[in-house]
Amino acid sequence: MLLAATGLVFAILAALSVPIVFALGAAAVTGLVLGGYSLEMLASSLIGASQNWILLAIPSFIFAGTIMERCGMSYALVDLARALVGWLRGGLGMSVIVVSYFFSDICGSKMAEVSALGSTLMPPLKRAGYRPADGASLIAAGTAMGMLVPPAIFLIVIGEVTNISVVALFLAGFVPAAVIGICLCLLVALQAHLLGWPKDTRPSFRFLLRSLRDAAVPLVIPLVILGGFYFGAFTATEAGAIVALYSLAAARLYYRNLTWRQIVWIGYDSAVLTAVVVFLLAVATIFQYLMGVTGVPLLLGELLKPLESAHWLFLLGVALITMVFGMVLEGLPAAVVLIPVVFPIANRLGINPIHFDIVQTAAVGIGLFLPPMGVGLLMALRFAEVPVGEHAKTYWPYVLALLVGLMLIICLPELSLAIPRSAGFVR
């Protein structure tokens, strides 16, 4: 009864465009009242969840990423990607995938990434003869893959929700993202031969060196993250502080194209976005508590029992549900509503929690870019001006490549666990 009432309140309000966090909040208040729990929990949960040292990494990574994006580093990264793979047939297409990998390393925000890559890459793609739908597919699939590349905010949130070290998740994300990236590059190579996509101009050695030099400033960030975490030098929160200071110095001393006024506004946007994310997490804790006391994990455990015979089957089943949640509810709400309920079952089955988190992160990334209503895909399509239905005819091979990548991550846990294991996070 309690469960049905809270679920119904949430579903109706969310469908009626009440912001998801308030739909969750209203459902939580309904659950607390019907269950006879004190409403004092509302205020204490809001403080308990937001007063969190690990989540402090979020504002600094968002702030740093937005500054670097606004400095125009996407141009430097696009040049580097074109110098590295542009000379292959379909190389410009592959460079979209490569640049998505680099870019996600620096820019923690998916929407900013789609927006930056769409505006930077769509014109050269069109000029080179790629159809707008192809361009949008490349950007959407590349950014979906980038979900796994640190310092993705989603990894911080899922780490917090499942109580797993954010550093371990950051280290775990690099290889699976590369695996999905390779799947996408193979597809691009195949498409290039079938559709006659051109080679980019063969870059000179001097161009390669120049693009490496220009990209060096933003690429220090992933090096700091990977190196610092691997050797256990600092925590995710400390890395956030270092990266924020570095990007501020780069903006003022190297790029010199941002005024203090603009930086203050970037700070404002970063603070609002941080608040939106952390507030959602805080409100969700009440909802999670209610789901716990009403036995939702047990119920879901029964439902998922047929999938428990093999780890890969369970992970795939949950990943497909997560994907649909990611498409409908967007990434972070999906994480705070679904993951805490399913995670204990995965734990009971003996699935490594880092592997579980990485698989679900990849699934949410794909869901965000899944037709017909993945918010990331809709954003990418704005740059292509192609309706979602028509685009799906071009896009399905990319979804297939993303799913092949996901299957590889599911079936080969070491892809996620090798680096954290060698850094001492997995025994």
């Binding site: 004092e40 702030f63 506004w265």
Partner: protein, 194 residues
Amino acid sequence: MNASGQAVAGASNGRSVRDIVLFVPRFVLIALLALAIADMIVGVFLRYVMVPVTDWLDLDPINFFWVEEVGEYSLAWLTMIGAGIGVAERAHFTLRVVTHRLPPVPQRAVHIASNLLIAVFGGLAAWYGTRLAIINTALTSPALQLNLAWLYAAPAVGGVLMAISALSLAVEPPVTEEAAPVASESGALAAGDD
């Protein structure tokens, strides 16, 4: 005045009330972000530079337990004030599948009801936040010895901001889907971000 004229007047009233009320909180929000990031940078400096230096010079170690507390309290306040401002900025994640397809009158009704619901939630957060702050007046934080009422007042303030923002939005017409992702002056997207 005709209906559209009233809607325009309502919209401008709502916006001006919101701008006045949120003027100070917007600056406080920026200051809290600056404080949180500066605090973390100071923490890194103390841990990686000052601790080895004091060890090397054989001086008393520097106490920096307060760094964690300042950071956490800043984030709590930033979250609550930002969540209130986020209502005004329409920055919270929102599903847009049904309502924008409704005819104008039911769309308007859903918009008003949705904002009233947010206002009620904000009111509850403010009420119970105030009660929690009063209960905690006798307690102090371990590192800063700060009265914990200051921490627990955050949901109260955030709740009031949410309620005012939602009520001011309720008198405005609903936004179209194209206008939905909110941009502040710098143009960054807030909603739908991961």
